[in-house]
């Protein structure tokens, strides 16, 4: 629990404003330090710069897809500790497999219930705490 006092940092990569509002509320309430990027372009650079604990990553982004960003992060050994939770409006089983194969730690299909997302976020961040 060396980082126990430090607030967990979450980066949201999501182009839909309305869902971003809901996520903003949820993450604030959960007590996470968070920021949002509305486009895939530049997301990888931002992640490298801010090194969040968790990336909430939408798959269907303008310009650069969530899959690409995910592959990018996983290709960089320096970012190995970052958890990735992918969110997509096309939640087919094959896409889930693709996301997990590309290195995502979780995959959640929209629409989702807030408690479902909250549980998933807690699972991902909590597991690091246990390490």
């Amino acid at each position: 629990m060396a980082d126990g006092d430090r607030k967990r940092r979450v980066l949201v990569v999501e182009d839909e404003d309305n869902i971003a509002i809901a996520l903003d509320y949820l993450l604030t309430r959960e007590g996470y330090d968070h920021e949002r990027i509305a486009s895939g372009a530049g997301a990888a650079e931002r992640i490298r710069a801010s090194r969040p604990d968790l990336v909430l990553l939408d798959v269907m982004l303008p310009e650069v897809s969530g899959y690409e960003i995910c592959q990018d992060i996983r290709a960089d050994p320096g970012l190995a500790g970052i958890k990735i939770l992918m969110m997509t409006a096309r939640g087919s089983a094959m896409e889930r497999r693709k996301g997990l194969a590309l290195g995502a730690d979780g995959f959640i299909a929209k629409p989702f219930e807030l408690k479902e997302l909250r549980a998933e976020v807690r699972r991902l961040l909590g597991s690091e705490e246990g390490m």
């Binding site: 949820l26 897809s65 592959q71 939640g91 094959m94 896409e95 693709k98 194969a101 590309l102 408690k115």
Partner: protein
């Protein structure tokens, strides 16, 4: 020399020789008599006597010759020429037998022979005429049928030359210009893109089962119409002497351009619908979720209502999307392709572009559009090749499906690059096919993964695959037609039906033992159908049955069926149901029918069908025909009727069913000869013979 002369001349020469001999004998006799007397006074008396005796004898012999010639030699020649005329010149009139009245039975016998010959010849020509007419009618009906069927039908040689086509095929392949329509002995590939057709042909050749058909998509070269096709190889006997030549094939074609376009439009609509509903539904649910958590912001009832409606909307969207996802691959049944065929096709296609791909395929059969997947993976291999080495394609089992993995040593590939490759058109002979669309057709995805060590791989899962078991011996089945069925009078009831008009299923079972009441069970059922007095070679039922209990070694010794052989077989409920369907509307026939029927009737509840078919027993029919004193076992009966059962087939259900069917067919004419014409007649006769079929037919 003398035999070359005519009969009458020879008879004449015989009598002439007789006359000469007699004259010589008279002359010699008188000469010796005169020498004895040696009186010159008497010479004139001797000469006179010789002349009178000579003339009298000549006259007598001439008369005898004349009678013989007129009544024997001449009639024989007449009969002979008459027989010859009727044999070789096909003279129709009866032979004149009055001329030969002194020839005893020869003339009537010749008459009988020529009359029999004439009637045989007449019957033969009538039969030929009848069969010819029948064949012409059949041919006309088939032609009418083929011209009317709403699909294009093509017959091609192994070299893909056209040898037959129907009108619809002209429409499909030729478009509006008749000049561009298919021509006999032109290459099929002048009209259709070859890739998929060659692949299907190779696949069918590999399977080597006359019954197999292959479904494929192909495109016309001219107007890029998309055609759904089914290919079936022609039977071996049509493939030239000794079946050494590769077989030709039948290709049936259906234009699915419209279907595909309509399907794609519908598919796009559904996808867009789900996409556009999904986002607001997702957002709505999230926002309502937030609101609901702000206690006191919303009246309690309202909050619950909003939350539950949002949840059910989200649930509905998710469920419909999942169903759409599952159904996406099912709208057009994808063919089953052997993994080794698919990988080989990929290797060959990549090799054309100078790229070597090593293969490692599990023994699987994959559900996929082979040429599309092959084109996609070959194209990806070619894209990957520069700067990478040791490309290899692996096919492994993956849950209910299979995983196609293209591995290499060298730099990984970025998702963005892969996405660009997937958007490029593929060479599959169809317009506008991209890798993306191939993935959609198969409702799957592709992604790069780091491989072991310094390599990486592309993964493409297929949803459905099965293990390629050793192929069971194919059951012969093909289009069976009997146009006489159309003109057959339907008997008012089975009892009044003539025996030759009934449809029969002759069957046999193998069992764990002889006592169904004490738990013995069926382990095999086989049956054949007899229609219009003909055993239908292609309509065969043959299935092992899992008896749900061990098979005693003694029984295995009889029929050779072991526990291991039935371990994977379906149970009696399923096999019985299938057999019931096979025997629907037929009279059941078995050798010692009560035994076999008893086993089936005991399982009626499990099968869910009643075996109340009219039933005949060849044991009883044998008793009717050959009398009670004879042996009526199947071996004895078939031996008596000259039917051989191959040793390998004896005590197999199908072997015994075939033998029983052949015996039954040979018994039918004997029954008819005894005035037993209808099914009712048989039952009455059998009842008279003591052992009743009442339990089966009552």
């Amino acid at each position: 020399m003398i035999t070359r002369l005519g009969l009458r001349l020879r008879v004449f020469m015989f009598f002439a020789a007789l006359a000469l001999g007699n004259l010589a004998a008279i002359g010699l006799g008188l000469y010796f008599g005169y020498q004895r007397i040696a009186d010159p006074e008497l010479i004139s008396a001797f000469v006179q006597g010789a002349i009178i005796a000579g003339f009298a004898m000549l006259g007598l012999i001439t008369w005898m010759w004349f009678l013989f010639d007129q009544n024997v030699a001449h009639p024989i020649e007449q009969l002979a020429s008459g027989i010859r005329a009727r044999t070789h010149a096909e003279v129709a009139s009866d032979i004149d037998h009055t001329a030969g009245r002194y020839l005893g039975d020869l003339a009537p016998a010749a008459l009988a022979v020529t009359q029999h010959l004439a009637s045989t010849r007449e019957a033969l020509s009538e039969a030929v005429q009848r069969e010819t007419t029948h064949l012409v009618q059949l041919k006309d009906r088939l032609e009418a049928l083929l011209s009317d069927v709403p699909v294009g039908v093509l017959l091609c040689t192994p070299e893909h030359q056209l040898v037959f086509y129907n009108g619809h095929a002209v429409d499909l392949l030729g478009g509006l210009e008749v000049a561009q329509g298919p021509g006999l002995d032109r290459r099929l590939f002048d009209y259709l893109h070859p890739a998929t057709i060659e692949l299907a042909y190779a696949r069918l050749r590999e399977i080597n089962d006359a019954d197999a058909a292959s479904d494929l998509l192909c495109a016309t070269t001219g107007s890029a119409k998309v055609l759904a096709a089914r290919m079936r190889l022609l039977a071996d006997d049509a493939a030239g002497p000794g079946g050494q030549m590769p077989p030709g094939y039948v290709l049936t074609l259906r234009d699915v351009t419209g279907d595909l376009a309509a399907h794609e439009a519908r598919e796009a609509l559904v996808a867009e619908f789900l996409d556009r509903v999904r986002r607001p539904a997702a957002n709505l649910q999230s926002v309502i979720g937030v609101l609901a958590e702000q206690k006191g912001l919303l009246p309690e009832g309202l909050e619950g209502a909003l939350s539950s409606e949002a949840a059910s909307l989200a649930h509905a969207v998710n469920e419909l999307a999942a169903r759409h996802d599952a159904e996406r691959a099912n709208w057009r049944p994808l063919p089953m392709v052997r993994a080794s065929d698919l990988t080989e096709a990929i290797r060959v296609r990549a090799a054309v572009d100078g790229v070597t791909v090593a293969l490692d395929a599990a023994a699987l059969i994959l559900r996929c559009e082979g040429f599309e997947i092959a084109a996609l993976l070959a194209a990806l291999a070619v894209r990957l090749a520069p700067g990478r080495r040791d490309l290899a394609l692996h096919v492994t089992e993956d849950g209910a499906g299979a995983l196609l993995a293209l591995s290499w040593l060298g730099a990984p590939v970025a998702v963005s690059e892969l996405d660009r490759w997937l958007d490029a058109p593929l060479e599959v002979g169809l317009a506008n096919v991209t890798g993306r669309r191939v993935l959609q057709t198969h409702a799957t995805e592709i992604w790069p993964e780091p491989g072991a060590g310094v390599g990486a791989r592309l993964c493409l899962p297929l949803r459905e695959a099965r293990r390629a078991h050793k192929r069971p011996a194919p059951v012969l089945r093909s289009v069976v037609y009997d146009f006489d069925l159309m003109f057959k009078e339907r008997a008012a009831s089975v009892m009044e039906a003539r025996l030759e008009d009934l449809t029969y299923v002759v069957f046999d079972t193998e069992t764990t033992g002889l006592l169904p009441a004490q738990g013995d069970e069926i382990v095999q059922i086989a049956g054949v159908r007899i229609v219009n007095g003909r055993r239908l070679e292609k309509e065969v039922f043959d299935s092992l049955v899992n008896p749900g209990r061990p098979i005693p070694p003694g029984s295995t010794e009889v029929h050779g069926i072991t526990d291991a052989m039935v371990a994977e077989a379906p149970g009696i409920a399923e096999v019985g149901r299938r057999f019931h369907a096979f025997a629907k509307g037929a009279v059941l026939v078995a050798h010692n029918a009560p035994f076999d029927v008893e086993f089936l009737r005991r399982k009626q509840a499990a099968i869910g069908a009643v075996f109340d078919h009219p039933t005949l027993d060849t044991v009883l029919l044998s008793a009717v025909v050959f009398g009670q004193g004879e042996q009526h076992g199947l071996d004895a009966l078939t031996h008596r009727l000259g039917i051989t059962i191959a040793e390998e087939a004896r005590h197999t259900a199908i072997g015994d069913a075939l033998a029983t069917a052949d015996a039954f067919l040979k018994l039918l004419p004997s029954l008819k000869a005894r005035g037993i014409v209808t099914f009712g007649d048989v039952l009455r006769e059998v009842r008279r013979h003591g052992r009743l079929l009442k339990d089966l037919n009552g």
